[in-house]
């Protein structure tokens, strides 16, 4: 399923999703701009932007194997960190000027330990992310963010003032609003953009300076508004899971007739459905409040499952979905248990769910096709 999106803006997004260093980012580097990589959606990009740097969400696009990282990881580890650390070892991330890690999951948090010990890097930080989301934890995370701000400022020689932070918050909120507009278009009966294409747009947003991204996204929105896609899909789907950054995976699903019209994933709606409060008393606590509590959470956060399930159900209703696909990277404990619970919640809500295990690099396409087809059929589509 394709929509024939031809615009230059979309092509740039699509290229950005297929590579680590896209031309916009390369230009930024060529002009002396610095880039800081970060793992996990709970790291506030705004602090990096406020320091005049470009935040880059870590992924392992373009990886072809794990030969180098196999000595550091085991076969029971999630394939995302294994591919990602492999690229660290082969030098694919040399374009980064710093790294911010967080204890997001058992697999990814060890990238910090391995990176720090085995790959010389000038700036690598680890933040302590709470498991709970109450006021005490927001307090703790506020301190964490304040410390990160100081360290980034000191290392890169910038004074990160409140004004700069508020500016960054506004800029990133603008990104969120634009992305949300794009999602709104997908509520149409014949959405002008597919799920795979949307993912490319979202991934690109984590790999280029936000001003330029916003400009291009505005262009794309102008192009799409008032248009329709080809329609003809068999079902409208929501996809829920973790680090899904490969549009090709969604394309396989859509090629079977299941149009992905919305999601709850790390590169999807969870990044932007809610905004940072611009009227809060200070930017650091506003960011802590947002990243820990206000934004839709993932199973990393304890005590939030009911809210997460409700979020998926609400999104299904808002986007008129016929079913849900839960994707999980093999060996991911968090998403395994989350999907186990979510399956029960969706059943109670009368929404069919298909659970799919996958590897980080899209493979086993034949089996994926068969499972999706069977799922669509069970839904009578």
């Amino acid at each position: 399923m394709e929509t024939n999106l031809k615009s230059k803006a979309f092509q740039e997004f699509s290229n950005a999703a297929e590579t680590l260093v896209n031309p916009v980012l390369q230009r930024w580097k060529d002009q002396g701009g610095k880039v800081v990589g970060y793992f996990c959606s709970t790291v506030p990009e705004e602090i990096i932007t406020a320091a005049g740097l470009t935040p880059f969400r870590m992924r392992a696009t373009g990886s072809t194997g794990t030969e180098e990282s196999d000595a550091f990881y085991s076969s029971i580890n999630c394939s995302f960190p294994r591919h990602c650390f492999n690229q660290v070892l082969t030098g694919d991330f040399k374009f980064l000027d710093g790294i911010v890690c967080v204890n997001s999951c058992d697999h990814v948090r060890r990238i910090y330990d391995n990176w720090k010990r085995f790959v010389p890097t000038d700036f690598i930080e680890m933040m302590s992310l709470p498991r709970k989301t109450g006021p005490d934890q927001v307090g703790w995370y506020t301190e964490e963010l304040a410390m990160l701000k100081d360290k980034v400022g000191k290392h890169f020689g910038v004074e990160i003032t409140d004004d700069r932070l508020w500016e960054a918050v506004k800029l990133h909120n603008e990104t969120r609003r634009l992305q949300k507009k794009l999602y709104e278009l997908r509520k149409q009966e014949k959405p002008p953009i597919t799920g795979a294409e949307t993912l490319a747009v979202m991934v690109a947003g984590t790999a280029m300076p936000k001003e330029q991204y916003n400009e291009k996204l505005r262009e794309l929105l102008d192009e799409l508004s008032g248009t329709e896609g080809p329609g003809g899909h068999r079902a409208r789907l929501l996809i829920v899971g973790g680090i899904l950054d490969d549009p090709a995976y969604i394309k396989v699903i859509e090629d079977q007739g299941g149009l992905v019209v919305t999601d709850s994933t790390c590169f999807g709606s969870r990044l932007m459905w809610v905004e940072v409060d611009e009227n809060a008393s200070d930017p650091i606590s506003a960011l802590a409040q947002y990243y820990l509590t206000d934004r839709p959470s993932c199973p990393r956060m304890y005590g939030e499952h009911d809210n997460r399930a409700q979020y998926v159900i609400d999104m299904c209703r808002e986007f008129n979905c016929d079913g849900v696909i839960g994707e999980r990277l093999i060996f991911c404990d968090s998403w395994l248990v989350e999907h186990y619970m979510l399956g029960q919640d969706l059943k109670a809500a009368g929404i069919p769910m298909l659970k799919l295990d996958r590897e980080y690099l899209t493979s086993g396409i034949g089996q994926l096709r068969t499972r999706v087809q069977a799922f669509l059929e069970t839904m009578g589509r």
């Binding site: 029971i76 999630c78 697999h107 304890y302 404990d333 619970m341």
Partner: protein
């Protein structure tokens, strides 16, 4: 009406109790062996714990579900029975129905790559096979599995309305983290008071902690004895029993102190007589995990008999034995926070940055004259699996052989005992050990 009819959730618990009574009978038959006298005492403590929970359910008395690394001395001081939700895999995985329950967990939709201890515990909760406590203290560390298990607990229809509290774990091990966690523990104790009606008398807690300090001190003394060549004990007695006494059944009791005294006495005698678990100790192993509780007897005796390989130390046997300063309330909470978050076995390695993997290996290899380090690679220990490079490098620097096995501590079908024996034999041969 039988207790089980009124409380079907006790089905497994009562069977487990029966199983331990049976094991006690078996052990009694060997009572002339001093170590077996201690095993009987351990089983007595365990059975007392089971009895207290069943009595609490039957007579509507308060009890809590909690964990070894959530300050068990508090419950002793409050005279509150407690049990661990993950009790079956950790303390009772010799029960004959373990594999059937693992299969049932998989059928429930929990797959086969999530830690079996977590899968089993989710199964017991979801299948209504876990005692329903007055209030629950949930665990959010050391791995991803633990908070997810408790998310299931929180959502389960029978547990939903049980009051719950969870201490939030910081990731670092600095003073700020210590204060934060001490505060969480303080809130936890308040929560228990409010929801059970039990009172925490600080004098009583102080007394309990003093007993507990004595136990840890004696444990440390015992470990010094294990430095001897030959080691006075192998896998048969040591960490699992010490752990269950100090952290679970007898946390901060005079009986616990007596148990440790007896252990030290027996070990001293063995050292004096130059006696160890095998006639000739050939290889001194550091087994860097829990024991493979689901299939201990099919593997560990073989290590000793076939190779003269003695498990001198394991992950649960040695950690910093920091005494808790009981001179002020402030210090008590900080001490509890330190012991339960920074020191507690498995938590100290898995919860934070990987430094303790390297530090523990270096310390233990040196102190215990270790000939080989075994990383069993339990399928649940994903953070450890991502630390193998660091462990291997540490061993290389120490010039001590290192082997990574890949197994499930609870399910012998994951890697069979024969496959593991084969890997161990190949390793020993390749390294010229034994």
């Amino acid at each position: 009406m039988a207790l089980i009819d009124k409380h079907p959730e006790l089905a497994r618990y009562i069977t487990e109790q029966g199983w331990f009574e049976f094991l006690r009978e078996q052990t009694l038959a060997m009572i002339e062996i001093p170590e077996m006298q201690l095993q009987v005492k351990t089983l007595d403590s365990l059975l007392k714990m089971y009895g207290r929970i069943l009595d609490a359910v039957e007579n509507d008395k308060p009890f809590v579900s909690s964990y070894y690394c959530l300050a068990p001395e508090l419950y002793t001081a409050m005279d509150l029975p407690y049990y661990m939700v993950m009790q079956t895999p950790f303390l009772a995985s010799s029960v004959p129905y373990l594999l059937t329950d693992i299969d049932a967990a998989e059928e429930m939709g929990l797959g086969n790559d999530l830690c079996t201890a977590i899968r089993l515990s989710i199964y017991y909760v979801e299948a209504n096979l876990s005692p329903l406590p007055t209030c629950a203290l949930n665990l959010l560390y050391p791995c991803d599995g633990a908070p997810l298990l408790h998310e299931v607990i929180k959502r389960n229809e029978r547990w939903r309305n049980i009051p719950m509290f969870a201490c939030d774990p910081p990731y670092y091990s600095d003073e700020r983290s210590l204060d934060y966690f001490a505060d969480e523990m303080r809130k936890m104790a308040k929560f228990v008071e409010t929801n059970t009606g039990a009172k925490l008398d600080m004098d009583k807690l102080k007394e309990t902690l003093e007993y507990s300090n004595q136990m840890f001190q004696l444990w440390d003394e015992y470990n010094q004895l294990r430095r001897n060549v030959p080691s006075p004990h192998g896998w048969g007695i040591g960490a699992p029993q010490c752990f269950s006494q100090a952290w679970v059944y007898e946390a901060g009791t005079p009986q616990g102190v007596e148990w440790f005294k007896k252990l030290v006495e027996i070990a001293e005698l063995n050292v004096k007589n130059g006696v160890g678990p095998v006639p000739e100790e050939k290889i001194r192993l550091f087994w860097f995990d829990l024991l493979p509780f689901g299939w201990v007897f099919e593997f560990l005796p073989w290590l000793e008999e076939e190779w003269g390989a003695v498990m001198v130390m394991d992950m649960f046997g040695n950690f910093p034995y920091t005494m808790i300063d009981t001179s002020s309330e402030e210090e008590i909470w900080r001490g509890l926070a330190k012991r339960n978050l920074f020191d507690a076995p498995m938590v100290r390695q898995a919860r934070g940055v990987a430094d303790n993997f390297a530090n523990d290996i270096a310390r233990i290899v040196k102190d215990f004259k270790i000939d080989a380090v075994v990383w069993p690679g339990h399928m649940g220990h994903k953070d450890g699996a991502a630390t193998v490079g660091i462990m291997r490098e540490t061993c290389r620097d120490l010039s001590v052989p290192f082997v990574h096995l890949g197994l499930d501590l609870f399910d012998k079908r994951y890697s069979t005992p024969d496959q593991i024996k084969d890997k161990m034999s190949q390793f020993f041969r390749a390294m010229g050990l034994g």
